[in-house]
């Protein structure tokens, strides 16, 4: 896929092109408006929010809401802000990403090069899992984790993320490995490589691009998860999204919209950072996840 359309840029502005630019600008305003509102609301104090237009720039910059959202805002009876949620989200995301990407890479490798009878039946079953609504699996899975003694614990939520990340990641890795030249694998076999050795010395060194795509997909996906964190993480490990919702929705006393918006921005910082840094890779992740090979 080339990144720019072929041919030169048209030289003259026609009515049509002006109209086109207008439409694109209107769309851009629509897409940017919530981000703009989020940022400026977080920089206003409550008096100004109550008195002035939501779209107006703040008359005076107020940074009151940021530290409050980070370390003092209340979720029910606890007033520790989003910080514990941020730490929990990291504690959940990092191991979940490592385990799910590692496991799925091995799955993809085994499926691509070491097919055995029935392997693709189970792969199909696994892919089918990607489309089952979480609501169907949440309760029975909760029972399974309860029986294993890991419900409401960090390993419990990590296992859940590994399970639900597996179908799409396995597919991505399998598709990537299938596209590698098979002769490479054959040569490694002739040289006496076995399952593990070929994976370690031939496949892993070539997996960098697809691993980046998979990691980006998982980091944003797990960071943004709400439902699974709510059900499986337990009170002590609630991820940032769950705490954000608690802070905003459970408002005893006066609603502080500036604090709410600061908290919202703080929660989306990690995925936005990943998105702006990785740009092209993020897009590749979408394409890899969506287009079946």
């Amino acid at each position: 896929m080339s990144t720019t359309p072929a041919g030169p840029r048209p030289k003259f502005l026609t009515i049509g092109r002006i109209g086109m630019y207008c439409f694109i600008l209107v769309c851009a305003i629509f897409f940017l408006m919530p981000l703009y509102v989020m940022v400026i609301t977080s920089l206003k104090d409550m008096d100004e929010i109550r008195a002035a237009n939501i779209l107006n720039l703040p008359k005076e910059l107020s940074f009151y809401s940021w530290p409050k959202a980070w370390s003092q805002a209340c979720t029910g009876f606890v007033c520790e802000g989003l910080k514990p949620g941020f730490i929990n989200s990291i504690k959940i995301t990092v191991p979940s990403v490592i385990v799910s990407v590692g496991l799925s890479a091995i799955n993809g490798y085994a499926l691509a090069f070491w097919r055995f009878k029935g392997a693709y039946f189970f792969f199909g079953l696994c892919m089918f899992g990607a489309f089952i609504p979480y609501q169907v699996m949440v309760y029975p899975l909760l029972k399974i984790e309860d029986a294993l003694g890991i419900y409401s614990t960090l390993p419990g939520i990590i296992l859940v993320h590994t399970i639900f990340g597996m179908p799409i990641l396995t597919l991505i890795f399998r598709n990537f490995y299938v596209s590698l030249p098979i002769d490479l694998f054959k040569a490694a076999r002739i040289d006496g490589g076995n399952f593990i050795k070929i994976f370690l010395y031939v496949i892993i060194p070539m997996s960098a691009p697809i691993t980046i795509v998979a990691v980006i997909l998982q980091v944003t996906g797990i960071w943004n998860d709400f439902l699974l964190g709510l059900v499986f993480a337990g009170r002590d490990n609630q991820p940032m999204t769950v705490q954000l919702n608690n802070i905003v929705q459970v408002d005893y006393g006066v609603a502080e919209y500036n604090v709410d918006m600061s908290a919202t921005i703080l929660t989306s910082l990690v995925p936005l950072f990943v998105y702006f840094i990785s740009g092209r890779w993020f897009v590749r992740g979408i394409a890899a996840g969506a287009i079946k090979g």
């Binding site: 694109i24 629509f30 609301t41 097919r115 055995f116 189970f122 169907v136 287009i291």
Partner: protein, 293 residues
């Protein structure tokens, strides 16, 4: 050929096989079995036939949930497709600042549904939100009370969802557009076909696989919608924006009506299968049958 030639591969795929069988298949069987019981707070096997389903279909709330999911599914899917396709076409017109616009249109997709819901809840706030802005600019007649309006609240959810998801469709479509052979464009311009006509009647049909993939992925996501509605409207006003997912979660965790929740989740599952079955049959069976790997 020895039976266990690929023993290492089998061991490597064991986690995937176990998870597929216990979680993906096991949970559905579990849910179905207990949907035939009158379990309340804990699952007990007390067979009552299909009474839970009968009860489910008599619930006014379930009717509203189903109606909402159809409205949401229709508006969200169509909205994403139209806006996504338009944006992709416009971005493909050799415009200035192409990558900037692409970044703007896709960034909401990196945010979580929780963040999306909370931002739009603030933007559409009936007291301080956009309605107030318009009033302040002298458009006193302007009304945007969707979040507190029983009939319109579900459309507020649709707007927020389209805002988040349109960029995803744009990326898919753009990948498709960039894959179109230059010769097709040349012959179209020699024939003197108007550009908009070529896009609708020639290019769009060529992008059919992309469109189908986009529709299937969006539709599968529609059934799952939970976080967005929970944060934006909490299913309200009243239960005007409740969805099957909310209904299930409420019966699991708030009302302790497990049997009812299982029955509703099984209906959700069946509807996803109905959406996916024809596509999966084509994608995985027919194509693999006639294509070589």
């Amino acid at each position: 050929m020895p039976l266990f030639r690929n023993i290492a591969s089998m061991i490597a795929l064991l986690p995937m096989i176990v998870i597929s069988l216990t979680v993906f298949v096991g949970c559905i069987i579990y849910s179905f079995v207990y949907s035939l019981t009158n379990s309340k707070l804990i699952p007990v096997y007390n067979y009552i036939g299909f009474d839970q389903y009968e009860r489910l279909f008599k619930q006014r709330k379930w009717d509203v949930a189903v109606e909402n999911i159809f409205i949401y599914g229709f508006v969200f899917t169509i909205g994403c497709l139209i806006i996504g396709f338009l944006l992709a076409v416009l971005i493909d017109q050799k415009i200035r600042g192409e990558s900037l616009f692409r970044t703007i249109f896709l960034y909401p997709y990196a945010m979580s549904f929780v963040v999306t819901g909370l931002v739009w809840k603030w933007v559409l706030n009936p007291t301080f939100g956009l309605e107030n802005s318009m009033h302040m600019w002298g458009f006193g007649w302007f009304e945007l009370d969707w979040l507190v309006n029983r009939d319109l609240a579900i459309y507020a959810v649709c707007i927020a969802a389209v805002w988040q998801g349109a960029g995803f469709v744009m990326v898919l479509m753009l990948a498709g557009l960039r894959g179109i052979d230059e010769d097709i464009w040349k012959s179209l311009s020699i024939e003197g076909v108007a550009k908009w006509k070529s896009y609708i009647f020639v290019i769009l049909p060529m992008l059919r696989p992309m469109v189908v993939t986009a529709i299937v992925l969006i539709a599968a996501g529609v059934v799952k919608v939970y976080d967005l509605i929970l944060t934006l409207t909490s299913g309200g006003p009243g239960y005007a924006t409740t969805t099957p997912a909310l209904y299930v979660m409420e019966n699991f965790f708030k009302r302790a009506d497990l049997g009812q929740a299982f029955a509703a989740s099984i209906i959700m599952f069946i509807s996803v299968v109905c959406i996916l079955a024809p596509w999966a049959f084509y994608e995985f069976y027919l194509r693999n049958k006639y294509a070589t790997n």
